[in-house]
């Protein structure tokens, strides 16, 4: 028990140092622009279909589930605003981040883990190429920038899903639906929700890289790194979300 606790604290300490190194290295040239763009493509563009499908389903299901209760209170007209608010403030950021934790963080963990155990990271190091800068900085930067974009995309698709859900039981024009949403939305709904997605992105990338970069030797550790990356990133997303909601509640 004591040993487990010690290992956990040690792990948190090492992860913090690993993350701190990112802020040191990210500003020092040379910049790995090509690799960064490649990672943006792999992390952002290639996740679009998955995020689109889940976003659409989120909007549709949320609408269908909320509608009966609102109908009971005669507040059906609030449905577009309520769906949009729920999606933008909470559901789309968290669900998209969780999907990215499953797809991106585990992918990074497995890729870097296998590079570690096959000595590819050591090969970079002995060739006087900074593997942290080339492999880690580019990936963390890419997730930090791509996750917010994916969340905005999921917001938009989720709203479309909501529109489809409303039209299953009624006949509402798209213009009226969008107008209703904009009437109920404020900038303060969007800004804190978007800011927290940058943190989600940063931790998704950082945890995947940390787990992969520190995989011990042996192929078994590659699977462990991928698995551990998903679990830790998912848990971290919920913790960040809880903190973000508390802070938003204090200031806005």
């Amino acid at each position: 028990m004591t040993l487990n606790l010690k290992n956990t604290f040690e792990d948190v300490g090492n992860a913090t140092l690993f993350a701190a190194r990112f802020f040191k290295e990210v500003f020092i040239p040379p910049y790995e622009t090509r690799q960064f763009l490649k990672q943006c493509y792999a992390i952002g563009y290639k996740s679009l279909p998955l995020v689109a499908i889940t976003g659409f389903i989120m909007g549709l299901v949320l609408t269908l589930q909320s509608r009966p209760t609102l109908v009971k209170f005669g507040a059906e007209s609030w449905l577009p605003g309520m769906v949009a608010l729920s999606l933008i403030r909470e559901i789309a950021p968290v669900i998209t981040a969780l999907i990215c934790a499953g797809k991106v963080s585990s992918g990074i963990g497995a890729e870097l883990g296998s590079m570690k155990v096959t000595e590819q990271i050591d090969a970079m190091e002995v060739s006087a190429i900074n593997p942290y800068k080339y492999l880690v900085v580019t990936r963390i930067l890419a997730t930090t920038l791509m996750v917010p974009i994916l969340v905005i995309f999921a917001d938009a698709i989720g709203i479309l899903g909501g529109y489809a859900g409303i039209n299953i039981h009624g006949d509402v024009s798209f213009y009226r639906y969008i107008t209703k949403i904009f009437q109920s939305l404020e900038f303060l709904d969007i800004i804190p929700a978007t800011i927290k997605t940058f943190f989600f992105g940063f931790f998704i990338g950082m945890i995947g890289c940390y787990k992969g970069f520190n995989a011990s030797n042996g192929t078994e550790s590659v699977g462990k790194a991928a698995n551990s990356a998903v679990v830790t990133a998912s848990l971290t997303i919920f913790i960040i979300d809880m903190l973000a909601v508390q802070i938003t509640d204090l200031f806005f």
């Binding site: 590079m115 096959t118 590819q120 090969a123 190091e125 060739s127 006087a128």
Partner: protein, 259 residues
């Protein structure tokens, strides 16, 4: 000269002039009680091929990884090009690493890159003034040196074990290092391919005048490439000499490597 059961810290005056790698009293422990290196001392002279023999876990790979700064020893001194590796700053260490090539046991090719990109990647990072045509011609030349120009567009997963080692060697050679460290270059290969790799090592030595440390279990490779051999046992040097000298060693354990 046969110096069995003796850690060779002493050097002649002639050695001093040409010593390019000097290891003094190197110690390394992993975990609490896995004392892998227990005071290793040896010197490698300019232009020499030193073969390191020893059972698995005797500290051979750890020693060469200490030389390039992949592993930090607990105690000791490593002088390469008359500079103590352990006292170098990151930038200075990287400048030194460019002068040292390291061939990994598995070849350690970057899986996500083709053979061309594997070679060009290293070159692009260190010779930023080269244009695309110059890089391509250097890559082709390096591949030609290892006899694998045809594999330029292949991915590492499409290569055989021997080809991976050769490409790994081409990648190591592309920066024209003065020292090459080979970590079991013939392990896992058939006899013919092993011989080809050993001949390639010898050829590189003659053509490029490199200094090498070769870790191997392959006695045919040792016989062909070694100017001098050291035998590691439980973290210390058990014997040192030429192939012919150690083959006739009085120490039965040392002799067992040659039987």
């Amino acid at each position: 000269m046969l110096n069995e059961k003796e850690n060779t810290g002493t050097k002649t005056k002639a050695d001093k002039k040409t010593a390019i790698i000097e290891i003094k009293d190197l110690h390394k422990t992993f975990g609490n009680d896995n004392h892998v290196l227990k005071g290793v001392n040896f010197t490698v002279n300019k232009g020499e091929d030193l073969v390191v023999l020893g059972r698995s876990g005797s500290g051979k790979s750890v020693t060469i990884k200490c030389i390039v700064g992949l592993i930090t020893p607990d105690k000791g001194e490593i002088n390469v090009f008359e500079e103590n590796v352990l006292e170098l700053k990151k930038k200075e260490l990287n400048e030194m690493r460019v002068r040292i090539g390291f061939l990994f046991q598995s070849g350690a090719l970057y899986d996500s890159m083709s053979v061309r990109e594997n070679l060009a990647f290293t070159l692009r990072k260190h010779k930023r003034d080269l244009n695309a045509d110059e890089i391509e011609s250097e890559v082709l030349e390096a591949l030609d040196n290892v006899g694998l120009s045809d594999a330029i567009d292949k991915m590492p997963s499409e290569l055989s074990g021997g080809m991976r080692k050769r490409i790994g060697l081409a990648r190591t050679l592309i920066l024209k290092p003065e020292i090459i460290l080979y970590d079991e270059p013939t392990t896992g290969l058939d006899t013919i391919t092993s011989r080809e790799i050993s001949e390639l090592i010898l050829d590189i030595k003659h053509r490029r005048k490199t200094t090498s440390i070769i870790i191997t279990h392959d006695m045919a490779c040792a016989k062909l490439t070694a100017d001098r051999i050291i035998v590691l046992k439980e973290g210390t040097i058990q014997a040192e000499g030429t192939y012919g000298e150690l083959e006739k060693s009085e120490d039965e354990w040392v002799r067992s490597f040659f039987e």
